[in-house]
C-alpha cells in the first residue's frame, strides 16, 4: 500500500479548492448587489462555474473509486479515523448537493441555467416563487455548513502537520 496520492488526485484537490473558494466568495458577494448588468453577469458566471464544479466532483469521485487514496496513519485513534472519513464524506456530499440545489433554485426562480451561455440544462422544476425562495435558503444554508466543514478540514490538516507531525498535510502537496 503506497502512502501517496496520485498526481491527478492532488491536481483535482487543489483545482477544486481554488474553484470552490472563488465560488463561495462570489456567491456571498453577488447576492446583495443591486440589479445591474454586472450582477447578471456574475450570476451567469457563478452558475457556469457551479455546473463545472459539479462535473469535476463526478470526475474526482470516479478517480477516487478507481484509485484508492492512501490510508490514514495507524497511530490515529479509531474515533479520529472515523471523524476523518465522516468529514470527507460530508465534503463530497455537499460538493454534490450544493450545485444541485443551485440548479433547482434557478429553475424555480425562472432563470434557466445555460452552461457557458450555450448548453441549456433542463429545468427540473417549474417556476414557483415560494419554492424558489425556499431553495435559495437551502442553497445558502448548505454553503454556510460547507464553510464550517472546510474550516474543520483545514484545521484538521494543520493539526496533523503542526501537532501530530505526520504527513497527512504534506502528502497532498505537489512534491511529496
Amino acid at each position: 500500500m503506497t502512502n501517496r496520492y496520485t498526481t491527478t488526485a492532488k491536481g483535482l484537490h487543489w483545482l477544486m479548492a481554488i474553484l470552490l473558494f472563488g465560488m463561495l466568495a462570489l456567491g456571498f458577494y453577488m447576492q446583495d448587489l443591486p440589479l445591474s448588468p454586472q450582477k447578471l453577469q456574475l450570476y451567469s458566471w457563478h452558475k457556469w462555474a457551479g455546473v463545472s464544479a459539479f462535473l469535476l466532483v463526478l470526475v474526482r469521485l470516479a478517480w477516487r473509486v478507481t484509485h484508492i487514496p492512501p490510508a490514514l496513519p495507524a497511530s490515529m485513534p479509531k474515533l479520529m479515523q472515523f471523524a476523518a472519513h465522516a468529514g470527507h464524506f460530508l465534503l463530497y456530499a455537499l460538493m454534490l448537493a450544493i450545485p444541485l440545489t443551485g440548479w433547482l433554485m434557478s429553475s424555480a426562480k425562472g432563470f434557466q441555467t445555460v452552461w457557458f451561455g450555450v448548453l441549456p440544462l433542463p429545468d427540473l422544476l417549474d417556476k414557483n416563487k415560494e419554492l424558489g425562495d425556499l431553495l435559495a435558503l437551502v442553497h445558502k444554508s448548505l454553503n454556510l455548513f460547507f464553510v464550517a466543514v472546510i474550516v474543520g478540514h483545514v484545521g484538521a490538516a494543520l493539526k496533523h502537520h503542526l501537532i501530530d507531525k505526520d504527513d497527512i498535510l504534506t502528502r497532498m502537496l505537489p512534491r511529496h
Partner: protein, 185 residues
C-alpha cells in the same frame, strides 16, 4: 310575388350577414401581450398585464381593418419584482415620462387563408418605428382570435440605456407575442 322575392333575397343574405361580422370588442381578459428575450444565452420571458385596444376587423374586408393598441408599460411583469422596478425606471421604459407604448395600424394585407400582414407604427419612449406584424385570425363563434409575433430591437427605442446599452448581457432582439380575442357586435 315581389314580396316573396324580397323575402328570398333577405333569407339568402342573412347567413352572409352573419359571417361578415365585424370584430370590434377586444376582450382583454382573454388576450395577452408577452415578450421574450435572451440574457447571456438564457431565454427569458414576461408580459404586460394592462393594455387597451381598439379594433375594427371584418374578415370580408381586411383592407379596411384598423387597430390601435396602448400598452401600459408600468404593468410589465418580468417574473421578478426587482426587475419590474428596474425596467420601469429611466434607463429602460422611463414610465414616468412615457407611460404607454402605442401601436397604430396602417395598411392590412390578406396573405391568403387566415394569414394577414399588418403594417403600422410602433411608438415606445418617444421613438416611432415602422413595423410589419404578421398575424393569423381564427373565428370561434361570435369571437375571433388574432395570434402573431414580431421582433423589435430594444436599441431602436433606447430601451436599456447607460450600463444596459450594450447587448452582451441583455440581447437587442425582443420577440413580442400577442393573442387578442375580440367579439363581434
Amino acid at each position: 310575388m315581389k314580396r316573396l322575392a324580397f323575402a328570398l333575397a333577405l333569407a339568402a343574405a342573412l347567413p352572409f350577414a352573419a359571417q361578415a361580422a365585424e370584430f370590434t370588442q377586444v376582450q382583454t381578459d382573454k388576450s395577452a401581450i408577452t415578450f421574450g428575450y435572451q440574457q447571456m444565452g438564457v431565454k427569458m420571458d414576461g408580459r404586460f398585464k394592462k393594455f387597451a385596444a381598439r379594433l375594427n376587423f371584418d374578415p370580408a374586408r381586411p383592407a379596411d381593418a384598423k387597430a390601435t393598441f396602448d400598452v401600459d408599460l408600468a404593468s410589465v411583469d418580468t417574473g421578478a419584482p426587482e426587475a419590474d422596478e428596474e425596467v420601469a425606471g429611466k434607463p429602460w421604459f422611463n414610465t414616468k415620462a412615457f407611460p404607454t407604448a402605442q401601436f397604430v395600424s396602417g395598411s392590412v394585407k390578406a396573405l391568403g387563408g387566415n394569414r394577414y400582414e399588418v403594417a403600422g407604427k410602433l411608438t415606445i419612449k418617444g421613438k416611432t418605428q415602422d413595423i410589419v406584424v404578421p398575424a393569423t385570425f381564427t373565428a370561434q363563434g361570435n369571437s375571433g382570435v388574432f395570434d402573431g409575433s414580431f421582433t423589435i430591437r430594444r436599441g431602436d427605442f433606447s430601451i436599456g440605456e447607460g450600463a444596459w446599452a450594450k447587448f452582451d448581457i441583455v440581447a437587442n432582439d425582443v420577440l413580442i407575442k400577442f393573442r387578442i380575442t375580440a367579439a363581434s357586435k
